[in-house]
Symmetry: C2
Subunit: 165 residues, 2 copies
């Protein structure tokens, strides 16, 4: 199964595409869609939409996973993020992908085994789970890979449980 | 000038298209894009995006105006609204329209002349300014018409000031 993980942000939207075979994950692509804070906000949203559509077209994932929206940050930041998240959900719906949302706790538990893990630990564990020689360069990309791993792992477990039932 | 006003909402997104000639406004279209709360959120966003694109294609506005996002409502509602607003801004950017945002205060001042006007008063004044015989059926549509009127009036005033300067 091929899964796209998206880590939404108005300046940097991280993405990661993984291929999962049994319980093994392989990284297909990862990176960051960057937009300039000098641009009008709607142009930045357009840039993010175009970037996500290009990625989906190029890597043809079957599923996409996004972090649940959280309220902890300041409201203004959260509202900006929610605009971007709307764009990500739209790109997923347009492509007809299976869509899943996970809380930061679920993602960290799945990747690090510890719900209060730091970004750095997520980055190291994502690198290890994907057996990458080099560290993942950006935290936005590793957060996106982590949500993809979380979803793919969940699906793999469901499949295994189904087979054994 | 032809202006599209959008009143974002995850269940009901109001829209209004007006044509402004000098200081006179004429209603071209108004209504509501409705989505079912039973649908997954991303499908609702897709439905709103498709509805807005259809409207823009059909009525070819040159400008679009949207209410600024506000924090007063509960955070969960505001975050949902911001997802929808992201979709609206994207549709505007995709079509290359001039984009403007106004606060609820600016919109009410422009249409009713009173910043704390109620929805009902906005509805009556929008009907009057557009010289409609029948009341505007939905508050979402009249809110959308109000933001369009606010923008078109502002532009008309700017043009007149420019000519007299």
């Amino acid at each position: 199964m091929r899964t796209l993980g998206i880590d939404c942000g108005s300046e940097r939207t991280g993405y990661g595409v993984i291929e999962t075979d049994g319980a093994e994950h392989r990284m297909i692509a990862a990176g960051v869609i960057r937009t300039s804070p000098k641009w009008p906000f709607e142009k930045r949203l357009l840039e993010i939409a175009q970037g996500l559509r290009r990625l989906i077209g190029e890597h043809a994932p079957e599923a996409a996973a996004v972090e649940e929206v959280f309220y902890s940050a300041n409201v203004k930041t959260a509202l900006k993020l929610a605009h971007v998240r709307g764009i990500a959900l739209l790109a997923i719906a347009e492509a007809g992908l299976e869509m899943a949302e996970y809380s930061p706790l679920e993602i960290k538990m799945s990747v690090v085994g510890y719900g209060r893990a730091e970004k750095r630990q997520v980055q190291i564990m994502a690198q290890s789970l994907l057996r990458l020689r080099e560290p993942i360069e950006s935290e936005d990309a590793s957060d996106a890979l982590a949500v993809a791993i979380c979803h793919a792992t969940r699906r793999a477990v469901e499949r295994l449980s189904g087979e054994r039932a």
